[in-house]
Symmetry: C2
Subunit: 578 residues, 2 copies
Amino acid sequence: MTRLIPSAALLDKALPIRVWARAYSRGDFSADGLAAVIVTIMLIPQSLAYAMLAGMPPEAGIYASILPIIAYALFGSSRVLAVGPVAVVSLMTAAALGQVAEAGTADYASAALTLAALSGAMLLAMGLLRLGFIANFLSHPVIAGFITASAILIALGQLGPLLGIGLKGASLPELLDGIGAKLAAVNPRTALIGGLSLAFLFWVRRSMKASLRRLGLGPVLSDALTKAGPVLAVVVATLAVWALGWEAKGVAVVGTVPAALPPLTLPAFSPALIAELALPALLISVIGFVESVSVAQTLAARKRQRIQPDQELIGLGAANLAAGFSGGFPVTGGFARSVVNADAGAATPAAGILTALGLAVAGLALTPLLYFLPKATLAATIIVAVLGLVDLSILRRTFGCCRADFAAVAGTILVTLIFGVEAGISTGVILSIGLHLWRTSRPHVAEVGLVAGTEHFRNILRHKVITDPSVVTLRVDESLYFANTRFLEDLILDRTADDPALRHVVLMCSAVNEIDLTALETLEALNQHLRDRGIALHLSEVKGPVMDRLQRTPFLSHLTGRVFLSQHEAFATLTKPD
Amino acid sequence: MTRLIPSAALLDKALPIRVWARAYSRGDFSADGLAAVIVTIMLIPQSLAYAMLAGMPPEAGIYASILPIIAYALFGSSRVLAVGPVAVVSLMTAAALGQVAEAGTADYASAALTLAALSGAMLLAMGLLRLGFIANFLSHPVIAGFITASAILIALGQLGPLLGIGLKGASLPELLDGIGAKLAAVNPRTALIGGLSLAFLFWVRRSMKASLRRLGLGPVLSDALTKAGPVLAVVVATLAVWALGWEAKGVAVVGTVPAALPPLTLPAFSPALIAELALPALLISVIGFVESVSVAQTLAARKRQRIQPDQELIGLGAANLAAGFSGGFPVTGGFARSVVNADAGAATPAAGILTALGLAVAGLALTPLLYFLPKATLAATIIVAVLGLVDLSILRRTFGCCRADFAAVAGTILVTLIFGVEAGISTGVILSIGLHLWRTSRPHVAEVGLVAGTEHFRNILRHKVITDPSVVTLRVDESLYFANTRFLEDLILDRTADDPALRHVVLMCSAVNEIDLTALETLEALNQHLRDRGIALHLSEVKGPVMDRLQRTPFLSHLTGRVFLSQHEAFATLTKPD
């Protein structure tokens, strides 16, 4: 019977909270509490802003930052990761929901719950099935290109609320449609607030800290004031709109935010809705996971900790399920908030739980104060945040070194900008896998010879080597599998045609890591072709796993030549005078 | 101005007819004429049968064998390939058209034209863009599994006309739905004709030739009579139904076939229809191309000729376009008819043109004679033909040697049987590519040491080798690319942790054929990790193309260790006493 009770070690792994909670100290509590206060203050405007970006009502941003944080604290493996709405995932959410409902409607908010719950279920399933490796199929350049293009789309889209004009769409052509006429209809007051907010926030980010230091303030105070910069902008802008009565003059404000705890919501699970949202949910899950894991790893490495990708999937899955059942929308680990949390001294995930409590109190008590907060200021905070993500240097870096990477990143950026996020990231994945397959289907094959005075064989075109007219040695620089066997067969038949002195062909297999049935059948056919022309086929340097496989098939009994342990042995044996 | 006129050599390559027509002799004409007569006689029942399988009226089978043969003769590169309707492609055609219209309706026949024209356009485009290599992404086991499963579906479906029952569907569950009740309603006369035809045709295939030889007939006559066996079955069955008046007793017959030359037809190109048929057309194109090329290659190899896959695409594209514009349906090179054509002595593609003429005459003159031909006999010819394609031994052969191939072939067979041909072949391609990627994402990594008395390094687990506690050499048996860098990084960090004697890590790159930016960034990070722990990272046996790429990036200037030409040099240098 005891077998049915999971072992303590297993439970510790599945519920990381059991480990840190056991050793929780008063000192940890002070550190976590301070971090929680700082992160809470930072998250209030950010949650509202990303809710706006996702097309959701402002309170959804706060809800999406409460229960999901707690769920992640229970199951996640990073000690300092802060989950909640983030820019790229919010943009992807808006793109996905825009296909099924109109932003601002009840159907839209309800579909957001379904999207979050679907994404949560997928992440959880991937974690339980240990499918974290799926994220490895997104190459670094594709991720960098996708985030850059998404950030450009986000910044451009936020020009709408920033200037008080109606920009709609999830791609460059949609956003730029009729932009001239729209710009002529700018609301000057909105644009003034937006422009001042933007200028102030850029100054905060670029030079506020240094300026404060020059004014004689201490480093800690300068740092704290700089972090409070965005909140200051929000407070001043809100007071200004209220005092000047600009709401009546057409300046869009956040308006009434219900003062409430997160509601218990049941996502709609109609088959039609699930079918429509399944692919976006998968893309959001994978992108959110990749972003979150890279943040978590960066922060863990600082403290020589490690995170478990599969446990991260479970933590993020729990967070998104929590978002789906508490009035939120898809969430993931955010870079800025996690760094602030870590820098503020968060010692354990309890900091996240305390942040959630802080946001719950804010949601209950502070929402009336947010009525006059201008949307233009929120748009400014988003623009400043995402412009930091734009990094076009990836184009230059890949262009110099790796053409396939360049093609993948350029394709990802272009398709994301022109056709939107879903088409963009799908293109990136398909392009990078497709280009990889294409390259392995036309492998590099070198004819090699002996480097004098060694037992080493190198390319006859690149090195001065010894060869013999009766022996051709070809080193195939790729595993032999279905996609490249036809190419190889043609290449070897071409190389060995019209060479009357030739008696032996050696395939040097030091780079052949795998072999499949298609390749074995092709080698059999090649062996027969060569035999008909009086040429023996040999293999050398066959690796253990490949040799194991050859021995399980009849291939070796048909082989006209031998299998040599080393290429040196092959060359010495075959060139020895009879 | 002369540049605009293509050179003769180029024209010869694009229009192979220019080459063989120039040297055409009277002897060639006799040989081609005899082959054409034999193939024409064989093709009459076969064309009707495959039209029935594709859900088309009987005359469409004859039309699909006239202009397409001529188009292929002009553009194709094989001298003996005979194109026309074939079993697997006809089944795929029925499955695709069944999704857009009811078999037997005008919409169905019209959609068949669109499908053929679409497939022709795709093949032509692939040929002009030299995309013949796409077919290499179908592994041999996946093709074998797909053809086996398709043949089972075809044979089962033909039990309908064979027994005079109504079997419908494109998958096992659909075909077996209510089979018990249907079998109870068998038409006994139809079943008698079908059963006798089936028994006779199996005897023809298995033992007729040997029996005739035992009766004292010469080998040539025995062979010719055996080939005429199916025609004999058709003639006898037709006469029997006519003489016994069984049409009135419910035996389904071919009925009125219009006596006409192929009509000029314009395929419908509505965007909705094209969207629905695009994927099936692509799958039909690829499968048809793979089947046809393998037939053409087999026959060309007998005469030491070679075929050009890209030219084959153009030939098959022209044939399918011709089918689409002359009342046909998708066609490709058939195995049986091509072998008969070659065995009958066809010398040039003129045999195909003469066959087309023969079929045109037959279509004009013989169609009234086909009125009483029972469909049960056509079904029997199909069943006998496709049962020869069933080869379940591929399961045993892959199971013994290659688990990934086994998984791909088993998945292909199961999905084809349960969900139909389109899902089946897509599953096969996705499974084989997915499994290949999964394996390369978790590469084999061996720790190696020096084989005593040589300069050769092998796996310490498989060979008796010399090692040194301050040096760990890891041979990575795979290219380094985005899908496997995370796995490798983890593996190397695990291996090098808690080893205080360790000073040098050597990555032996003899099997690293490619490196991309993701891998370079990971190596940079690894280099830094190891440096922080006082361990130097070295590379050995880096191949030319990989070295070229490393030299185009700043990686080498950050590397803490060296790049050694050979692993032997690396080991000797690093283990030398200071």
